[in-house]
Symmetry: C2
DNA sequence: TTTCAGCATTGACAAATTTCGACTTTTTAT
DNA sequence: ATAAAAAGTCGAAATTTGTCAATGCTGAAA
């Protein structure tokens, strides 16, 4: 974890979450004074579940996994984050603790935003507050969708959902490097890593996908979507 | 569904969600003009998933189940609501649709709050907005907890969690009428109703609980909590 | 009161999923 | 480059969970 003293300006930042566009010039200046850039290497922990949240984390570059740590190393990956997303939300107005962990999947750059500054914006700037609420709204809907997938579908449907998530929401491509290993794919889809392996093989055998380790190619998107629908 | 023309005053309402205390006198008066009371009988649908959300629902008396409707009648009960809770949130700043259904478990009284009025408050009253955000925060944490329970624990742990939820969060008693039947208990804990039956029997046989149909008594809270912890 | 429909219960079986063990491949550290 | 560690793969066995079918129970309607 390296701190960078070479700050760019929030005004010109292209990797900030959409609703920050509602900040006025003076607020942006204030934001600029109360944030700092941090670089993480792949594998480093950006947010640790249970720790005090003093900052919100604005994701600038790279990828990271967001996951809930259960007892006995039973993790559940909630999402893969990418630039323009804000992390650290759920605890900020309740117990001021982080309710998930975030670990970098690639080398990563983030901006840590002072929580006091952020909360000031929420109080002073209604558009900003609305943006935050809208962001929380869509995160709530996302987690509901994931909740349904993991509790109501069988393994084939869940792996299909996982692959569609990576393809459509994260990497926006039919061919991509997953960045996560089999264990993590299992944690994303709520099964054992062996089961994840077997189902990937099934999909490969039926020419729905092709892969080499973590490099994944979707060959038959319709089939994958059908598997997802059928659960 | 009966509309009631005998409005009480929001000022004196004791069954409104805590963060509405942040509303000022004139705002409360405005709220009073832009809401109306509705009565539902047990079994009636208060909110239908997929419908347009024109109102927020403030729960005044009675109980209701909140659930996501999956394909093929596969429902997932997210929570049991009680007075002082606000419903209809997740879609209000995104697609203006309801993302879950709500059905009354008992005869029920709610206040429908005009969405435009509510959003006005959010814009004009920072404390109110903060209250809303805090409420969303705790709902997000709740659903995360439930998510972990349903995806990481086996059936005994999930039923224990379900019973603890009913006892500690909903009815706040060791003995209570569940209001939900076995099918619904199954939908709350993510299993088939037969499995739910069998596990209730296991718990009864080991003197952890006692029950007669929907009337439930927790005999050994420590044992139940241990089962919950052990998954 | 009687009847009936729906809910609850239970056992037997089938299906889904995990665990274990063995082995191979890939990555990492020296 | 080599060895060690980690990750991936896969079959078989064990476990968990769901489905089906039969039966009992309960409360509401006639």
């Amino acid at each position: 974890m390296l701190k960078n003293t070479q700050h760019s300006d929030c005004n010109e930042c292209s990797s900030i979450c959409a609703y920050f566009k509602n900040l006025k010039t003076d607020e942006l200046a204030e934001l600029n004074r109360n944030r700092f850039e941090v670089f993480y290497k792949a594998g480093e922990t950006i947010i640790k579940q249970g720790s005090l949240s003093k900052y919100l984390v604005s994701f600038s570059s790279g990828y990271a996994k967001v996951f809930i740590e259960g007892p006995a190393d039973k993790n559940l990956i909630i999402s893969i984050v990418q630039p323009k997303q804000i992390l650290g939300g759920p605890g900020i107005y309740t117990d001021s603790k982080h309710h998930y962990s975030v670990v970098a999947l690639t080398d990563t750059k983030v901006c840590l935003i002072e929580l006091d500054t952020f909360k000031d914006f929420v109080r002073r700037n209604p558009e900003f507050a609305e943006g935050l609420i809208a962001d929380m709204n869509s995160k709530a809907i996302d987690i509901q969708t994931k909740f349904m997938s993991l509790t109501q579908k069988q393994m084939h449907g869940r792996i299909a959902d996982g692959l569609l998530y990576l393809s459509e929401d994260v990497f926006k491509a039919m061919e991509f490097d997953m960045l996560i290993n089999r264990q993590e794919l299992a944690e994303l889809t709520g099964m054992s890593k062996e089961s994840a392996c077997r189902i990937l093989k099934d999909f490969k055998d039926s020419d729905v996908i092709d892969f080499q380790n973590s490099h994944m190619k979707i060959l038959n998107m319709e089939a994958l979507q059908k598997i997802s629908r059928n659960g």
